[in-house]
Amino acid sequence: MRVQLFLTCLGENFFSSTLQDLVRVLERIGVDVAMPEGQTCCGQPFYNSGFQSQAIAPARNFLRVFAPTDGYIVAPSGSCVDFVRHHLPELFQDPREHSIAQEIAARTYEFSEFLVRVLNVRDVGATFPHKVTYHASCHALRGLGLREESKELLRAVKGLELVPLNEEETCCGFGGVFSVIYPEVSASMMHAKIANIQASGADYVVMGDPGCLMNIAGGLHKIGSPIRALHTIQVLAANGGAQ
């Protein structure tokens, strides 16, 4: 089986190593990976900030890049997949484009969704002997209905001790443009999330969305916390070495 990688703009620009890890994990379980050239941004930032008409050009490029491909499209981000699945098709009034968009949306998956719901895989051969807690990113949780998938994958990692996070499902405060339109509120929410992470006793906090990761990792770094924030994929790629 061969899947198409949807890099996502945050993933590509800030978390290149996570994308590399995604390739390693997929190859380790016998899935080939292709990277369609020419991909840019799917258009979500424009759509979410109200510039719906400006989301069309990037979205059209997304169609142009992925239409000639076939097979599953996999992304390291719940919010991007939520956008592609639930909003991108409605941007296109033209019946032909609309139908192409729907076809692509129907085979686009968030990584944990792909592993667990499509491949029915839980154990990806990872080793990560550390205490880990999990933050549930909002779009994967409520947009895509993914509640247990990442946790099932984490529980199958050798040596990993998964500890609960108080207010696991409460938003971390990123919210895309929200983080820069209302920085005080965003920061307040981030601090509350970090306080919960510290109280969990974990050495690592993992999550499946680059947006949350930028926010929480930045917040932890700012206070000089020894707790490290990782993308779930980084843990799934690990095989015993320190990260």
């Binding site: 800030f14 994308l19 900030s49 109200g50 920085p183 965003s186 930028m214």
Partner: protein
């Protein structure tokens, strides 16, 4: 009315506000969980769907149900008035009050009456107007606005309330909730007895019979609508429901979602004035049906679902933004997620255009809403209205902002520009980098870095991926050649142009 500046309001939130608000929201979410679990998830979801479907059906046939309601209230002896806006509604109430020579009025808590600023209008006209819900009574004495829709005085301590009662009521008030309630009961009892007018809103208006449904816990709702000889209800046109079967559904959703009670202590069902002297109750009943922007909400088929709201407040309880700032920051009668979608539609985006952005789009509200209002979907719809305009209202963003978005959209849709941009930014970030982080960036990027660093840009995945295959490596070579030729060409052109200038 002045433009609501959400960020400025947030910066003024006093430090005691979020913790008190959070006490209330945590309590209500906890009690809610108990009573919802009793139903079991399947029945609860069925109930929510039923609540959504009956309310949507009503809104989609609002003209029909309003006319039926009016007929039935009138045939029960009630008098129906229609108010286009707040000013008209105030004038209607004032006219009725003057006609009856009203000196003292008692009120049941009603968001609609707050929307129209009724209290001030009555007080300015020399009519004593007293809020009788304990929390509303307290904030009225304190001269403040409510901080939470269900428990308006939750931000005040019992000590603070005791001081307030001592100062304003001339009593010796100890800081004990039971004693403070007893003081309020005594004071307000006399007010109920001597009032000429009782003012209320309504939770629902039943079209089939012309009945008002009023949900309360303290008994003041019954007092205000039973003891004075005159009763005026001011109710938004969106409160109509078709029949009692609908009330059955909605009464199972509202108290459980609002306070975690299976049902509130008192639910009054009022159809017109009293039908006999002996039973007691008001001799005259007026219903003021309020538009005040609700017809504007109707114009958009998606945003119209805002009117399904039954004012339970659960979206406030579960909203992380509301929990971090409290109600005052929203600057409108309605706060939290429902405020973020209702206020910009009632007041217009020029005044309340900040509010659809006062959300991280986490979606928790939509999960909890008992009538399944798709709040995040409506937030996105209203953001679009603010920024690009639609058939309901024009955009309010500036031309430069929209030009910037067009430029960004173009850049992010062209793979060459996008790739180039990713590489260029790696160069320009160099002076700001510290150990893989960008800690201080110039405006406007400092809106991120003021509270936490940004990871350094490191877009090198494509290069890594391409190098893994011969075909990929060849492509990388071709690109380098291409870029090299491009720069060589630019350099040559530059040299030629300089040479021409020297001549």
């Amino acid at each position: 009315m002045m433009r609501i500046d959400f960020r400025a309001n947030v910066q003024r939130v006093p430090p005691n506000m979020p913790p008190s608000v959070r006490k209330a929201t945590t309590r209500f979410l906890g009690t809610r969980a108990n009573v919802v679990n009793i139903f079991g998830d399947e029945r609860w979801q069925q109930l929510r769907q039923a609540g959504h479907d009956v309310r949507l059906h009503t809104i989609n046939h609002l003209d029909y149900y309003l006319t039926r309601l009016e007929e039935n209230v009138a045939s029960a002896g009630g008098i129906v008035h229609w108010a286009r806006d707040a000013e008209q509604a105030r004038q209607i109430v004032l006219a009725i009050a003057r006609e009856h020579n009203v000196k003292r009025a008692v009120k049941v808590k009603s968001m609609a009456t707050e929307e129209i600023g009724l209290n001030h209008a009555l007080i300015d006209a020399g009519i004593q107007t007293l809020e009788t819900d304990l929390g509303e009574y307290i904030v009225q004495l304190a001269g403040e606005g409510p901080s939470h829709i269900i428990v308006p005085a939750v931000h005040l301590t019992k000590e603070g309330i005791a001081d307030l009662f001592t100062q304003k009521l001339g009593v010796n008030a100890p800081p004990d909730p039971l004693e403070l309630c007893a003081i309020a009961r005594t004071k307000l009892r006399e007010e109920f007895m001597s009032a000429d007018l009782g003012i209320s809103g309504a939770n629902f208006l039943v079209a089939e019979t012309g009945t008002l449904v009023i949900v309360t816990n303290e008994g003041n709702g019954r007092m205000c609508t039973t003891l004075p000889p005159l009763h005026i209800a001011v109710v938004g046109i969106d409160k109509v429901v078709p029949d009692f079967e609908s009330v059955n559904v909605l009464l199972k959703l509202l108290p459980r979602s609002a306070t975690g009670q299976k049902i509130s202590t008192y639910t009054s069902f009022i159809t017109g004035p009293r039908r006999s002297t002996e039973e007691g109750g008001p001799q005259e009943f007026h219903l003021v049906l309020l538009d005040n922007g609700r017809t504007r909400v109707l114009r958009d088929p998606v945003a119209r679902e805002t009117l399904l709201c039954i004012r339970c407040g659960v979206c406030l309880n579960v909203c992380p933004v509301y929990n971090h700032v409290g109600g005052h920051a929203y600057g409108a009668v309605y706060s939290g997620p429902i405020g973020a979608i209702l206020a910009p539609q009632l007041l217009g985006v020029k005044i309340a255009g900040d509010l659809p952005f006062a959300s991280s789009l986490c979606g928790a509200c939509a999960d909890y809403c008992p009538v399944k209002i798709p709040i995040p979907k409506i937030l996105l719809r209203l953001r679009h209205r603010v920024v690009e305009g639609d058939h309901v209202q024009d955009a309010i963003t500036s031309a430069p902002m929209r030009a910037g978005a067009r430029a960004g959209s173009f850049a992010l849709s062209q793979s060459f520009l996008y790739a180039l941009g990713s590489q260029i930014v790696k160069i320009f970030q160099a002076p700001f980098q510290r150990a893989g982080w960008l800690t201080h960036l110039p405006p406007p990027a400092n809106r991120w870095t003021m509270t936490r660093p940004l990871p350094a840009f490191n877009a090198n995945f494509r290069a890594w991926f391409r190098k893994r295959t011969p075909a990929g490596r060849a492509r990388v070579q071709k690109r380098k050649l291409g870029i090299g030729l491009l720069f060589a060409g630019i350099a040559a052109l530059g040299a030629w142009w300089l040479a021409r200038r020297k001549k």
